[in-house]
């Protein structure tokens, strides 16, 4: 019985692998010039898995390019344009992306460990499963971005704009979000242990089932936020606005469960 089930499954898997696109061995002229350093820009170019480690691509235009799986480790990308680009599973660890444009970019599974994305535009970007531990996103714009199931441990998001962002099931342990705008954000089941959310706006945000153990919410605006079944044990709520907040089943800072 086992073998009958195994054969078709194995065959399908084998065929799927055989039919999968093979790694690129040569590049088109435009892409070739770009990779050879003759040109700094290559909008809408096909550059999957491109080796761009430590390159200086300051002000480069790579809008709409396919850079899936590309290696950009330690690349200098200040003010570079990646609008609508595909950077799925790309390696952008230790990159300098200050003021870069990544709006509407596909960044699923991409790595940004210790990357500097200060003041970068990530509006509507898809960062699902992204790895942004220790990344610097100070004053970045991430409105309506999808950042669910991502890692943002110890990331710096102070004064970032995160309106309507999807941060569900994301790990934000020890992240700093001082003065960040998270109005209408989805933080369902997010890990915010020891996160700093001082003076952040969480108006109407969904924080249901979020873990805010030891989080600093001093002066935060939580008006109309959904905190049902959230854990606020040892959280600091001094001066926080909880007007109209939903607190059913919430584990409060003193250890009591809100009715």
């Amino acid at each position: 019985m086992m073998s009958h089930r195994f054969v078709p499954a194995g065959l399908a898997f084998t065929l799927a692998l055989l039919l999968a696109p093979t790694p690129r061995l040569s590049w088109a002229a435009g892409e070739g010039d770009f990779l050879a350093g003759k040109s700094k820009s290559c909008p809408a170019c096909a550059l999957p898995r491109a080796p761009l480690k430590r390159k200086d691509l300051t002000d480069a235009d790579l809008s709409g390019a396919d850079l899936s799986g590309a290696v950009l480790h330690r690349a200098r990308l200040t003010r570079a344009k990646f609008t609508g680009a595909n950077l799925t599973d790309a390696n952008l660890n230790k990159t300098d992306l200050k003021n870069a444009s990544l709006a509407q970019a596909k960044l699923n599974g991409a790595m940004f460990y210790e990357a500097d994305l200060s003041a970068a535009d990530l509006t509507g970007a898809d960062l699902t499963d992204g790895k942004l531990g220790h990344a610097r996103l100070v004053r970045a714009t991430l409105d309506h971005a999808r950042i669910s199931a991502a890692i943002l441990t110890e990331a710096h998001l102070d004064e970032a704009s995160l309106r309507g962002v999807d941060l569900s099931a994301t790990n934000l342990v020890n992240a700093t979000l001082r003065g960040a705008n998270l109005e209408g954000a989805d933080l369902n089941n997010a890990g915010l242990v020891e996160a700093v959310l001082r003076d952040a706006s969480l108006k109407g945000a969904n924080l249901s089932e979020a873990d805010l153990f030891g989080a600093d919410l001093t002066g935060a605006n939580l008006a109309g936020a959904d905190l049902s079944d959230a854990r606020l044990t040892r959280a600091i709520l001094t001066g926080a606005n909880l007007e109209g907040a939903k607190l059913s089943g919430t584990l409060m800072p003193d250890g009591s469960v809100h009715e």
Binding site: F6, V7, F13, L17, R49, N91, M111, E114, G133
Partner: protein, 237 residues
């Protein structure tokens, strides 16, 4: 049926092996000092390291270089060889950090040989042929207890075979004293495959003026000792 099943298994295995190399975010390979083969022309060496600079015989890096190919910018030493300092590429270290792979973070952090922080350099002759390698324990890297640095000797001698080393215990200079009951000041060499000469100098002692206890306060001191390994591998003519 059995033959078809075997074929599928073989094909699946082969496809997995080849397909795995094409997967995104696969573990990148990292070149190490042992990938540099003596006698190789500079153009044929892997350009897979980082922070190239003129070497200073174990000291801090000097003039920054773009790669080994720039070796002529470094001044020749007494043996007529030009020393190029380099460090391991940290792509793998940050890949591990991004993915929170604790074992790999430990393994790939820093420039280390047998997990000991080291200063590495390659030495070239006028024709650009790799003539030598230097591995010197790095006292500036605090990722491992400095007093253990001298133990690197054991791993290096094992690499080239424990037997056949010609060793000389050097006399202590004025004021040099043991650390506890241990005093090591030894120079060893051995002819190895290449043909090349491997030489190791090991130090573990307190220098003049260093002591276990502060003579003023009587409190235990920290870091007042020399623990060092200098390893060289040089092509013999």
């Amino acid at each position: 049926m059995m033959r078809l099943r075997a074929l599928i298994l073989v094909c699946t295995g082969a496809c997995l092996a080849s397909g795995a190399a094409a997967q995104p975010q696969e573990r990148p390979a990292r070149a190490e000092v042992w990938d540099l083969k003596l006698g190789t022309p500079v153009a044929a060496l892997p350009d897979a390291f980082a922070d190239y600079a003129c070497g200073t015989n174990g000291g801090p890096p000097s003039i920054p270089l773009n790669g080994f190919a720039d070796f002529r910018r470094c001044r020749p030493d007494a043996a007529g060889l030009r020393e190029v300092y380099f460090r391991y590429d940290d792509e793998l270290e940050y890949w591990a950090k991004a993915n929170n792979f604790a074992t790999e973070i430990e393994r790939y952090s820093g420039t280390k040989v047998y997990d000991f922080p080291v200063v590495l350099s390659a030495r070239f002759d006028e024709a650009g042929v790799l003539q030598g390698l230097r591995i010197i324990s790095d006292p500036r890297d605090t990722s491992r207890d400095r007093d253990e640095a001298y133990l690197l000797r054991n791993f290096l001698t094992a690499r080239f075979g424990r037997d056949g080393w010609d060793c000389v215990d050097l006399p202590g200079a004025e004021g040099e004293t043991p650390v506890g009951r241990t005093f090591i000041k030894q120079r060893c060499h051995k002819g190895v495959e290449g043909p090349a000469l491997a030489d190791i100098e090991t130090h573990f002692f307190r220098k003049k003026g260093q002591s276990q206890y502060d003579p003023q306060s009587g409190k235990m001191t920290e870091g007042q000792f020399e623990s060092l390994v200098r390893f060289g591998l040089t092509l013999t003519k």
